[in-house]
């Protein structure tokens, strides 16, 4: 019936989760913009609502077009399954609330997106979930911050915007030694460049808005779980104790390896309501089909841009983990063998005002609070994405007032360096 062949990444990016439509034979999945789905009978409806049968009830919980995207990305990350959400922030929220509640604690690296810092440090703290941020985020330092009520460790594969590479293997070992799952935001790397689950991570998050979408069209998120973490060992009562919202089922008992994803979807997504629109899921399916070819081109251009800046007198502290000069090169070689992503950061010689003149002078690079678009984007983190962080938090995240973050796109690289050249000229001129 089904082939037992192990297919390659590019093949799976095109075909996983999106077989021909069973009804029409369409090779592209239809956009199933339907809120509800008819039940065959009262008996079937009861089985669905008690989680004993698989099927669609209501698009806030599951939808066929959303599921096509979920299966595709779960397959590419090597996970058991995925839950797609309205944004990357929502994916993070769903993942965390699936394993932690008021009175619990998390350990996070400080080298993470500013919006994640505020979600953890402000919104989740208000809900009673406390986070310790560990400068540098090394396995030993993260392990030292673990408390009896800690529920997970959180890092980014490539930190935003510091572009530091997490020691995923070491972190997974440290987390597991403490009985904790490792949550990895893999947005900057994508599963083409790094699959954290292969290095021991348990939960992978994406802002699918970025490279997975690839064209800057939709805001979306997704969480993937390996199915390999033992949720029934007592450390995570939300998964191992009877749930009052599903006839006292113990998720770890009734669903074994499917426990986390089942709870994330059936309880947390259901209650938070941050579901992904089928229309957006459809656009993501189109984007992911070409992930490998796009990432190869992003990586190629990013390396050339990093080398150009390193040789330029108007730029300093050029940071790209793929550079021979990078202190991250060993970690990059280990975890990002196909390339160190498409994000390059540097400091403009002349301080904050020179950095501001540089951005205002650019013609081709779009000044946008996004990354991972097919087009090249530029951002000044200190005044935008990380502007809610205080000086201490900025320093811990590796951000200076003269720092520029480039999201290197797919244009002709000569055109990109031409624009950077004239921008740096303007920065120096005043």
């Amino acid at each position: 019936m089904d082939s037992d062949r192990r297919f390659g990444f590019r093949t799976r990016a095109l075909h996983a989760g999106t077989p021909p439509n069973a009804a029409s034979g369409a090779t592209t999945p239809p956009v199933e913009l339907s809120t509800g789905f008819v039940f065959d009978s009262i008996a079937q409806a009861k089985e669905l609502f008690s989680l004993r049968a698989y099927g669609n009830m209501y698009t806030r919980i599951s939808n066929p077009t959303v599921a096509a995207f979920e299966e595709k990305i779960a397959n590419l990350e090597g996970g058991l399954g995925a839950v797609a959400t309205a944004s990357g922030q929502a994916a993070q929220m769903v993942a965390i609330l699936s394993l932690a509640q008021s009175g619990d604690h998390l350990v996070a690296s400080s080298n993470i997106y500013g919006g994640t810092v505020t979600q953890l440090n402000v919104s989740l703290r208000r809900l009673g979930i406390e986070t310790t941020f560990v400068t540098g985020g090394t396995p030993a330092a993260m392990a030292a911050a673990v408390r009896p009520n800690t529920k997970a460790m959180f890092v980014e594969t490539i930190g935003n915007p510091s572009v530091t590479v997490a020691d995923l293997g070491g972190l997974a070992e440290a987390a597991h030694a403490a009985g904790l799952p490792l949550i990895v935001d893999n947005t900057f790397a994508t599963p083409y460049l790094c699959r954290p689950i292969e290095h021991g991570a348990d939960i992978v998050l994406h802002s699918a808005t970025k490279y997975l979408c690839g064209h800057g069209t939709v805001v979306a998120g997704v969480l993937i779980e390996s199915g390999k973490f033992g949720w029934g060992r007592g450390k995570h009562p939300l998964l191992s104790e009877p749930s009052p919202s599903y006839h006292h089922v113990r998720f770890s008992d009734a669903f074994s390896e499917y426990a986390f994803l089942t709870r994330a979807r059936a309880e947390v997504m259901r209650d938070l309501g941050a579901c992904l629109s089928p229309m957006n899921a459809w656009l993501l399916v189109q984007g992911v089909e070409t992930l490998a070819v796009r990432m190869e081109a992003h990586v190629r251009n990013a390396m050339q841009i990093a080398q150009f800046l390193e040789a330029h007198e108007g730029a300093t502290a050029v940071s790209y983990p793929g550079l021979a000069s990078s202190p991250q090169r060993d970690l990059a070689a280990r975890y990002l063998p196909l390339g160190a992503g498409g994000i390059v950061t540097f400091r403009v010689v002349g301080g904050r005002s020179a950095a501001e003149r540089f951005i205002d002078a650019l013609e081709l690079w779009s000044h946008v609070a996004n990354m991972g678009d097919a087009k090249s984007l530029v951002l000044h983190p200190a005044s935008t994405s990380h502007s809610q962080l205080n000086d201490e938090e900025l320093a811990a995240a590796g951000i200076t007032p003269d720092m520029i973050r480039l999201s290197v796109g797919l244009e002709d690289v000569e055109d990109l360096t031409w624009d950077l050249e004239q921008g740096l000229g303007a920065a120096k001129a005043a």
Binding site: S3, A22, A53, Y54, A67, E71, S256
Partner: protein, 160 residues
């Protein structure tokens, strides 16, 4: 034969009509109850085996495999929810009863017992869930964002 391929599991699920659930529970919160109900909903004739229960899901529960086979004949698949320590005894009973296929649920792993069943000519699936595998090949698993592992450009009907 120890079945380790997706096509091997799909074949077992396709051909089976009767399933004995050994270690069946009548507690709606238990995995064995979920699986028993699911298999019934999907057209299998399902028999419960549990010496501690009179009935499971409204049907007679048999005290052991031997009693079940005597009354209902040999089930196509014996689906096992038991502790790994109980497996050697169960395998001997299955061999004696003429059982052809043993399906061992998650965690029901005992290498010596699996080896013994294999040598005696039984077909064995280990550390897999019958409900999950049925849903994988029918694409119901995919409907909830789980990876079915299926890569194919051939049109197939969806079973829910």
């Amino acid at each position: 034969m120890i079945v380790e391929t997706p096509s091997g599991r799909a074949d077992i699920l396709d051909k089976a009509k009767t399933v004995a659930v050994v270690g069946a529970s009548d507690n709606p919160a238990r995995a064995s109850y979920f699986v028993l109900r699911y298999l019934k909903m999907h057209g299998y004739a399902v028999f419960a085996v549990n010496p501690n229960l009179e009935r499971v899901d409204g049907q007679k529960s048999y005290p052991d495999l031997t009693a079940l086979v005597k009354e209902r004949g040999i089930p196509d698949v014996v689906d096992v929810f038991r502790r790994p320590e109980a497996l050697p005894g169960l395998v001997e009973e299955a061999i004696a009863c003429g059982v052809k296929t043993l399906w061992l649920q998650y965690g029901v792993v005992n290498a010596a017992a699996i080896q013994r069943a294999d040598s005696a000519g039984l077909t064995v699936v280990a550390d897999r869930c019958m409900k999950v595998e049925h849903a994988r090949f029918g694409r119901a698993l995919s409907s909830q964002g789980f990876d079915s592992g299926i890569i194919s450009s051939r049109r197939r009907p969806v079973e829910t």
